[in-house]
């Protein structure tokens, strides 16, 4: 028998969105929420009339340097938000922030800030010695910045819906209202094989019923939705699948699930303009470009670093 051919949409340069949709870790096994009806595709969409924000961040390793023999990571993080209102798409200028971190083992760098050039200030972050751990510490900062930015947006625009590009691990328990996260890649499964069979039946613009699971100590509500992708081809099962989650209570989750169908499908990107189509949503793609611009030129930063090190070299 000939093998069944299916195309993964994302450019092979990016990690594939599909991993193991139907092999849940025992501790993540999801429970369908009975209040959302039988386990079948759902397509009722609800509009969102208030302001809507997408929050994302961008991370770049500027250099790996050595302080005597200790490795230290120089990383830049930019976070920002793009707002959508009827008749307007805009950058929330107050939400943009660029922070740079020098991640080094404790005691390796004597000062709180490393300033190799004017306007280029790296804040000291202390973390354990392996390069992987240094990177994880910097990523931790990025996540915290994104969540903090979302908090700020909710404070300034009380009725707003804030959508985070990525899951909501780091969302403070006190700030769950009006926040959604969405996962483009599916490294972990949440549904058992029987439940996961439904995902193959979802048509564009449809979602699964809401299910719930616990991660660590916290309870999350989540659902899968399928984004439209033209032209329709035999794509891999997870190719157009987005998993949306919220840390808010069940009632809000049930209210936001139809809203996600009203908001997200029309923002699906297309392969010619984004290598991670359709899940990398159109406003997020634009925001990422803008964040890249605000990070500054990597080559220029490297040159400044070199000049500084040559000047300071002993």
């Amino acid at each position: 028998m000939k093998p069944r051919l299916r195309l993964e949409v994302w450019s092979p340069d990016h990690a594939a969105p599909e991993a193991s949709l139907a092999q849940p870790l025992p501790e993540l096994q999801a429970e369908p929420v009975a209040a959302d009806g039988p386990w079948a595709p759902k397509r009722e969409a609800a509009p969102w009339t208030g302001p809507l924000f997408f929050v994302d961040g961008r991370f770049r390793t500027d250099a790996l340097i050595f302080l005597d023999d200790a490795p230290a990571l120089l990383a830049s993080v930019a976070v920002g938000a793009v707002g959508l209102e009827p008749g307007r798409a805009f950058y929330e200028e107050a939400a943009f922030a660029v922070r740079r971190f020098l991640v080094a083992p404790p005691g390796a760098w004597p000062e709180p800030v490393f300033s190799p050039a004017p306007g280029l200030d790296y804040e000291l972050v202390e973390a354990g010695g392996e390069p992987e751990a240094l990177r994880a510490a910097a990523m931790e900062r990025r996540g915290a910045l994104e969540m903090g930015l979302g908090d700020g947006l909710r404070a300034r625009h009380p009725g707003a819906l804030v959508l985070h590009d990525g899951p909501l691990h780091r969302l403070p328990a006190a700030a769950t209202a009006g926040r959604l996260g969405f996962a483009k890649t599916h490294h972990r499964g949440y549904l058992n094989a029987e439940q996961a069979a439904l995902l193959g039946e979802l048509a564009a613009g449809e979602r699964s019923p809401v299910f719930t699971f616990t991660r660590g100590e916290r309870r999350f509500y989540s659902w899968y939705l399928r984004l439209p992708l033209e032209p329709e081809r035999p794509y891999a099962a997870a190719a157009t699948l987005l998993r949306v989650e919220t840390a808010a209570p069940e009632a809000e989750a049930l209210r936001l699930a139809p809203v996600s169908l009203g908001v997200l499908p029309r923002l699906a990107s297309r392969p010619f303009r984004d290598p991670r189509a359709p899940q990398n949503l159109v406003p997020v793609g634009a925001l990422e470009r803008e964040l890249g611009r605000r990070l500054g030129s990597a080559g220029l930063i490297r040159r400044r670093l070199l000049e500084h090190i040559r000047r300071e070299a002993v």
Partner: protein, 576 residues
């Protein structure tokens, strides 16, 4: 002066001492806007003046052209970049250092506008229209009246470019602005080539809107028709004996113009009947010879008819052609041609054996002589009513006339007759100025220069135009010439014009080298210029300026002429 920056010098594109780009933050910047920038080069402050010659907007933050759809659907945020290109017109002091990116840019108004366009250096500024920003535009009179330069050349498509209207507006400004000191003694000769459009110059235009009057006032000009105009039209073709009436729609105040045979011969006007002197090498020589013989013949005669005593046969079968001395009376141009045929080719009755009078033929071949006669014979149809033996000359005399402006109608004449009239009158004007008989300036307005001074070939009238173009400005004869296509006009005629004006141009024409003095953006714009807008270039200002000029204050057709029902006008009309 209100000083608000409209934007900054861009750093993403090259900023040079001669051109730079600006990003616009506030307000609107359009083509032709004049701006200034100041930059501090270590204590040396240089001010750059310039004119906007390109503006564009692009969406930033887009990757593909189709991203614009997303932006229009408010799905991605974008930034609209509004940028303009500035061509520097002047640096003060003249230090060719590039301006710093980020320097604030200001709109030039008042003094800074005058500095940008060198109006501050012009001692005598002649208003020549409005710039887009509503401020008057000027030409340095010294470059128009012949002191440092002279002549105006106007190009543009007929009917759209409003060449004649603009020439008249210039004249109006010359006469009424007070900038030209001896305006009262300046004379103008205008040839009317289309309809009788210029036959109402002395009548107010009743369609002139009040806001147009204000535009005249803003330039210091009177919104009035021309005060002192004389009109000349050729005589009607078909008419009986005696009274010669002008061929004109206008009932009164138009004089018929014509030359007497004696004046035609004495003044040597014969060459102006030949536009193809170069067609045969010997023809030119023969023309000059016959012209000289005719002048000798007319010497001492009073006219208008011409008497000859060496035409034994005379015009056949007619009585009363011999006078008491037995001389033959020549009383029409046709007879003159008969006489010349007899002198050049011999009597018809002698048939093949006939030969001409050696004193007239100047040893030319029969072929040349026949060609000459053939051409004259054809001319008789065209100029018979202009060169006559039945009336004394009544040719326009722009310098002798009491009117400041002399309009000579050509539109009904055949091309040959037009050549003759234009050539004869230009020669008369130029001759008078050469001999120093008239002290004031003389302006000559002539459309269709390509017909009178074509790039190829030679003709007597082209010689005169070249004379005017090259020597006229020192004599005070200023040519305001116009044509559809400058590329078809003798290079030296266009090249000698200090002030060049372009209206709507044809696309192919705009690409020709004759318009290379216009920067590319202006050449592109010349294709879409609306009526009433011209691009004007003068030697002192390094960039052309787009000017608009007001609606004519004088009538350009009968329907626009405001009816004059005053008692005086009625008395005039009734002959009381």
């Amino acid at each position: 002066m209100k000083k608000e920056a409209i934007g900054v010098v861009l750093g993403s594109r090259e900023a040079t001492p001669l051109e730079f780009w600006i990003g616009i933050q506030d307000g609107l910047v359009r083509l032709d806007d004049v701006v200034w920038v100041e930059a501090d080069h270590g204590g040396l402050v240089v001010r750059y003046y310039g004119m906007v010659d390109r503006v564009h907007k692009v969406l930033e933050g887009t990757q593909f052209d189709s991203d614009t759809f997303l932006a229009a659907g408010h799905l991605i945020p974008t930034n609209t970049a509004y940028v303009a290109h500035v061509t520097v017109t002047r640096l003060e002091p003249e230090e060719y250092l590039p301006p710093d990116p980020g320097s604030p840019v200001y709109l030039a108004r008042g003094d800074s506008l005058d500095a940008a366009l060198y109006y501050d250096r012009m001692k005598q500024k002649l208003p020549v229209g409005f710039m887009r920003n509503g401020e008057p535009a000027f030409v340095n009179l010294a470059f128009l009246d012949g002191r440092q330069g002279g002549h105006v050349n106007i190009s543009g498509i007929s009917g759209v470019a409003a060449k004649t209207s603009y020439a008249l507006f210039l004249l109006h400004s010359l006469y009424t602005s007070g900038v030209l000191e001896d305006a009262a003694s300046a004379k103008t000769l205008i040839f009317n080539v289309k309809g009788q459009d210029l036959f109402y110059l002395d009548r107010p235009n009743r369609e002139l809107a009040p806001e147009e009057r204000e535009r005249y006032a803003a330039m210091g000009l009177a919104a009035e028709p021309f005060a002192s105009v004389a009109f000349f039209a050729p005589p009607r073709l078909a008419q009986g004996q005696g009274h010669i009436t002008p061929s004109s729609h206008r009932a009164e105040g138009v004089r018929a113009y014509h030359w007497s045979l004696v004046d035609f011969c004495r003044d040597g006007l014969l060459p102006f009947l030949f536009s193809d002197r170069g067609a045969m090498s010997n023809l030119g020589f023969l023309i000059d010879h016959v012209t000289a013989r005719l002048a000798a013949l007319a010497h001492g005669q009073e006219g208008p008819e011409l008497y000859v005593d060496d035409w034994p046969e005379g015009p056949t079968a007619e009585a009363g052609v011999f006078d008491s001395l037995g001389r033959v009376k020549i009383d029409s141009f046709g007879r003159l041609v008969d006489y010349l045929e007899f002198q050049l080719l011999g009597a018809e009755s002698e048939g093949e054996a006939a030969s001409g009078n050696q004193r007239w033929t100047a040893r030319q071949h029969t072929g040349t002589l026949q060609a000459f006669v053939r051409r004259l014979r054809a001319a008789a149809r065209n100029v018979g009513h202009l060169i006559r033996g039945d009336a004394p000359s009544n040719a326009p005399d722009p310098l002798g006339s009491s009117a400041q402006i002399n309009v000579v109608d050509l539109h009904n004449l055949s091309p040959q007759a037009q050549m003759f009239v234009v050539g004869s009158l230009l020669r008369r004007v130029f001759g008078a100025k050469e001999s120093g008989r008239h002290r004031g300036k003389v302006f000559v307005v002539l459309d269709e220069l390509n017909k009178y001074a074509p790039r190829e070939g030679e003709s007597p009238i082209k010689d005169i135009l070249l004379d005017i173009a090259e020597r006229g400005r020192s004599l005070g004869v200023i040519l305001i010439g116009a044509q559809q296509t400058a590329s078809e006009v003798e290079r030296r005629v266009v090249g000698n014009a200090a002030v060049r004006v372009v209206g709507r141009l044809d696309a192919a024409e705009a690409e020709r080298p004759e318009y290379r003095y216009l920067p590319g953006a202006f050449r592109d714009r010349a294709l879409i210029l609306p009526q009433g807008t011209m691009i004007l270039h003068q030697p002192e200002v390094p960039v052309p300026v787009a000017v608009q000029f007001p609606y004519p204050a004088w009538a350009t057709k009968a329907s626009e002429a405001a009816q004059d029902v005053s008692d005086e006008a009625l008395k005039d009309e009734l002959g009381l």
